[in-house]
């Protein structure tokens, strides 16, 4: 047998250890159950119940929804302006003044101010062809449905911007309004005419 290491020799002969067989103390079981309960309470309050959108500090999806900032009017107008300048301004003018022979003005137009949201919104969604009277002038128009490709929110922003610019004063158009009117018009509506426009409810 090899030399023994003085610092590592156990005084007893080299037998394998054994384990005593007394039962587990009950208090540790009680502690485990208590911790499990407290853990479940904590999980209930802090986990958002496996919702993939809920991050701390929000405790639930309801709380997260309540803290969603509503899009303020200022933000709508800014977005609407940007979109208007890209899409509508080329023909209707960046200041809503219109272009003779091309597109009627928006500034002071009754179709923007008094003719109601339904009729006003239907124009970009359906397109317009034929004759239309705007501010006492007759326009012979052919406008494609410029708003059909936009999302409800984007078109709502643009229309709200038009209704609140260049002296116009109107209530905002919401995405819900646009959605409802789009649904009413159908998937591929025929371009509207002066008569069919008047036939629409306000």
């Amino acid at each position: 047998m090899s030399d023994e290491l003085k610092s590592s020799t156990p005084p007893t002969p080299d037998t394998e250890p054994v384990a005593a067989r007394s039962p587990v103390p009950i208090w540790i079981i009680v502690l485990t159950l208590t911790q499990l309960f407290l853990g479940m309470v904590y999980f209930d309050h802090h986990s958002g119940w496996f919702n993939s959108q809920v991050y701390g500090p929000y405790a639930s999806s309801e709380e997260l929804e309540s803290y969603q900032p509503k899009s303020g009017e200022a933000a709508m107008l800014a977005r609407g302006k940007a979109r208007y300048d890209q899409v509508c301004g080329l023909c209707h003018g960046l200041n809503g003044e219109g272009k003779p022979g091309q597109a009627p003005p928006f500034a002071g137009s009754e179709w923007v101010n008094t003719q109601g949201i339904q009729r006003f919104t239907s124009i970009p969604l359906g397109g317009l062809s034929g004759q239309l009277v705007v501010k006492g002038q007759t326009w012979s128009l052919s406008m494609p449905a410029m708003g059909a490709a936009m999302s409800d929110a984007d078109l709502a922003d643009v229309l709200t911007y038009i209704r609140n610019s260049w002296g116009n004063k109107g209530s905002p158009v919401t995405a819900a309004d646009v959605k409802a009117i789009r649904a009413k018009l159908g998937a591929h509506p025929q371009p509207l005419t002066g008569e069919s426009l008047k036939a629409l409810p306000e």
């Binding site: 959108q53 500090p57 969603q68 900032p69 303020g72 933000a75």
Partner: protein
């Protein structure tokens, strides 16, 4: 336990459980790689990083930047500010309504009550949502980091130690490419008492041949190479800086909302 099979079974149950919870479930719930939209806009988020920035991520990984820097902003809370947008027909009534109310740094319930009071008095008000936390107050970002922020990163370099500052929004807070390059070459020249080692091997120090190179670094006074020499970044350094400048955490999302003053749709 009496035999090896029971030990194996116990291990299978325990490890299988956590595998289901932390491997399978996250892959199923979050692994789809779905983009979200910026809050109150139709713009998708995130859009992928430009090509050089993706290579920069590999330079970041290869040099172990995540050993000192994190890329995850923490948010400890959320508050509201009530902002008056219109005084309406009787400004005096509105003033009376808000004189007794706290309008800043309040919770949603109080904010809603304040807005109701203002509306009842004939005015109009908006609630601004603000994310709060030490990281946000330090200017390290506008909101907490979420899953969507890392959608296109491979490997994700979240980091776990802040020996250096958090970098999740460094593209917004330090957008100057020259500053980033100088900081890599000689950190102590732009950040006093910096513990960051200089990454001189990512650069060439070369003699100026006639005209200085357009890529040459511009150093603050008192630092820089000796006269007649310039410091030019290698492609690796440029990729790394492109990556750093692509790091942004400044737009609101549905799962980390805050009010941004202007959200302009892209053309």
């Amino acid at each position: 336990m009496k035999n090896g099979f029971l030990v194996f079974l116990a291990s299978l149950i325990a490890l299988g459980g956590s595998w289901c919870g932390f491997v399978l479930a996250p892959v199923l719930q979050l692994g789809g790689g779905k983009q979200t939209t910026i809050l109150n806009s139709t713009d998708l988020y995130p859009v992928g990083r430009p090509g050089m920035a993706n290579q920069g991520l590999q330079v970041y990984r290869a040099n172990g930047c995540a050993a000192c820097h994190t890329e995850q902003i923490q948010q400890s809370g959320v508050t509201c500010d009530v902002v008056l947008t219109s005084a309406g027909k009787s400004p005096l009534a509105v003033t009376n309504a808000i004189s007794s109310l706290k309008l800043n740094n309040i919770d949603k319930v109080a904010a809603d009550a304040a807005v109701d009071a203002i509306t009842a008095a004939g005015g109009k008000a908006e609630i601004h949502i603000i994310a709060t936390g030490p990281d946000i107050t330090r200017g390290w970002g506008r909101r907490r980091s979420v899953v969507e922020d890392f959608l296109y990163d491979d490997p994700v370099q979240l980091g776990s130690l802040r020996i250096g500052p958090d970098l999740a929004d460094v593209g917004t807070s330090r957008p100057d490419a020259n500053w980033q390059l100088v900081h890599l070459f000689a950190p102590q020249s732009v950040v006093t008492d910096s513990a960051m080692p200089p990454f001189r091997y990512l650069f060439h120090v070369q003699r100026i041949n006639g005209e200085p190179s357009p890529d040459a670094l511009v150093f603050p006074k008192g630092f820089g190479p000796r006269a007649g020499y310039e410091v030019v970044p290698t492609p690796q350094a440029q990729e790394l800086v492109a990556y750093l400048l692509s790091l942004h955490t400044d737009v609101p999302l549905h799962d980390a909302p805050f009010t941004q003053p202007l959200v302009v749709s892209k053309p």
